[in-house]
Symmetry: C2
Subunit: 410 residues, 2 copies
């Protein structure tokens, strides 16, 4: 087996919230060395929900696994100088600085690249015009809440921070693309990404801008119906719900067979002058199809639906809460090599994920645990900047770093 | 200026739907050479919505920009052999094969890597246990629909194909990570990704699995409220909606000032024994805050809200439909360097996006246009496999490729 996939790649992550930390996580999970730097007391996401009973953030402990944590007073001149040195410290490859914060002065690309011209700085902002934006304000601007749900009662935000999650992967991609460029040319560079661009590019990529411009129409709210082929959700006798999808003819025939509607539904469609022959026809007839299927689901518990849906051609699944997913879905268990139970010293043991990507040439890296805030401040400053104990004491006395005994108590 | 960022990287994409095509798109937008291969007549996504008036897919034309298109009868022995040769054709770097299809035989990793040991094959599947899954059936399994919307009336699917979009970026990341590994070791490899793992890893990364395991609780449906700090949506006098977010104290004070509630709301909170001092307190008091703000929005049109919200500290935004985004948001126009109007020969001119990532060391690549299905079959087979006109005619006569005059007619 090989050393880890991204060995030799070191990233200083100066971040908060979801996007940039998840980029650091994605790279750490593939073997990069990731050092997250926070201001003293933590950044704005240090207490982000969900929390455990003692008020520790389970979110922070999940998004920062496999990283080391350095805590610096980045408001002070000394703290900013240390962060600058850390970013520019020598290493095997070019220095990589990943941030979603509005850094300036000695932490700007101009200043840093003067010290290390091969620097790769990957920076996320809110909007390309410089205005602030977060996932919630990007989401409302980008059209999806208006077509989510029934369309009654106003827009519905999706709860998944989808733009942050997507941006995180794009930032990780940017790091590797820029490192490739450095490898081929020796050049560093500043890479910028705006969160609103992630959302608006996605709208364009799915054809929705073209739909508006060329057709003068747009996709509208349509409940849980699939878009363009047949699919819908159903309530079962026990109050559980199931999603059913039939895109291909094979999936469609399997659905008719499993629900006993192979004669009745085509007959009903014929009587109404509707076709069910291909996915476009079934999409047009989706109201009829759902009306025909609804009593079948309403008469059965989810377990009975599951027992009737054994044909592998059927594409369907139960709706699950997070708790039900953990309890009932074997894909969300240690039966799946992506998941491992790991014990966090302060939080206890829980199921944690490593990278969803499985590379055959290297061993999958275990999920790891998140550091305590500032756990590695001394270790990293000694290792990367060669600071001796006396120098670290001076920094602690000045308040630039946390006193040695305080760091482990949180 | 440099040649494009990913020059020398060639990808054969054998794909359908959103995830794999968007990975190819992301790489093409950074300068990789991407050749999409489809079965004759197109893959299952060739007629995906939205369509234009003539039934051409605006979705296909948006997700496949900047790629070349090869159309082969991949059900035939000859067609499969051609695809195999195309994947294994010599190039500057290792061959890269990107697919979300269940390929076997001569298109399996085992067969391909025998011919080209340095092959990088990046493959998306539904579930790691081999069962099929699409975005809709992954989504229902992964908990989010149950906490989207009001929580009344059953689960609400988010309409954005968020798992496909995220998986697309992960597949692109996998290509670059595997190419880096090849560059350092000379080794190729098979990289696998399951769509359900993308969703379930995200649930874990946000701390929701830990919440279930350690607290026995989980996030619940809460309308459009932000999670963990104050934020909510409001209806204005003209029926438009706005999203308002106040995470930091500065944003919170700006919101109170702009709405004239700087005295009244703290007084109301004090009377009820509620605090508004920090984001956690404001999250607890979110019902009160929204109740106090609602009449202010209801008395004003969106334009009046906008006129009152000039303080740059305010974090807010209007909800927009796709059409409103295109008409009203300057970030979704050619004022944004990510967007360019491009003319597709069959569809007309519309606003298209290139990569949201801006790399300072290279020029941003223009969005490009999507090929017609099979537009480059002959060109690519001649260029990569050295096939002469006579050989191409024989393939067309056998039906392995489309006759020369048919390709341009669609």
């Amino acid at each position: 087996m090989n050393p880890s996939l991204l060995s030799g790649l070191r990233i200083i992550e100066f971040s908060a919230f979801v996007a940039a930390p998840s980029a650091g996580l994605a790279l750490a999970q593939l073997g990069a060395e990731v050092i997250r730097v926070d201001p003293r007391g933590g950044n704005i996401d240090i207490k982000r929900l969900p929390l455990n009973a003692e008020g520790r953030s389970l979110y922070w402990a999940s998004l920062n696994r496999g990283k080391r944590s350095v805590e610096l007073d980045v408001r002070s001149t000394e703290g900013r100088a240390l962060l600058q040195q850390l970013i520019c410290a020598p290493g095997d490859g070019p220095p990589v600085f990943l941030t979603n914060l509005a850094v300036d002065g000695e932490l700007s690309y101009a200043a840093l690249s003067k010290l290390r011209p091969e620097l790769i700085m990957v920076q996320l902002s809110g909007s390309p015009d410089g205005s602030s934006a977060v996932d919630y304000t990007v989401n409302c601007a980008a059209g999806f809440p208006g077509i989510t749900g029934s369309g009654q009662g106003g827009p519905v935000n999706h709860v998944l921070p989808a733009w942050d999650v997507t941006a995180g992967q794009m930032l990780a991609l940017a790091v590797l693309a820029a490192e490739r460029h450095w490898r081929l040319t020796g050049q560093g560079q500043h890479v910028e990404l705006a969160l609103s661009d992630v959302a608006m590019a996605t709208v364009a990529n799915l054809g929705y801008l073209a739909d508006v411009e060329l057709n003068g129409t747009q996709r509208s709210a349509d409940g849980n119906f699939l878009y363009g082929a047949y699919g819908d959700s159903f309530e079962c006798a026990d109050g559980r719900h199931a999603m059913v999808v039939a895109i291909t003819d094979r999936q469609w025939r399997a659905l008719l067979r499993a629900t006993g509607l192979h004669d009745a539904l085509p007959a009903a469609a014929a009587a109404l002058g509707m076709a069910l022959d291909d996915e476009a026809a079934r999409y047009s007839a989706r109201g009829l199809i759902s009306a025909a299927l609804r009593p079948w689901f309403a008469a059965r518990t989810l377990a009975q639906v599951s027992a009737a849906f054994t044909d592998r051609s059927l594409l369907w699944g139960p709706y699950r809460s997070f708790a039900q997913m953990l309890a009932d879905d074997p894909r969300c268990s240690e039966a799946n090599p992506m998941f491992r139970r790991t014990a966090h010293p302060d939080l206890g043991e829980f199921l944690t994920a490593t990278s969803p990507l499985e590379f055959a040439a290297v061993e999958r890296i275990a999920p790891g645990i998140a550091p305590r805030l500032g756990e590695h401040t001394r270790e990293v400053l000694a290792e990367k900047l060669g600071l001796a104990d006396a120098e670290l004491r001076t920094l602690a006395d000045a308040g630039t770093i946390t006193p040695a005994d305080a760091a482990l108590g949180r």
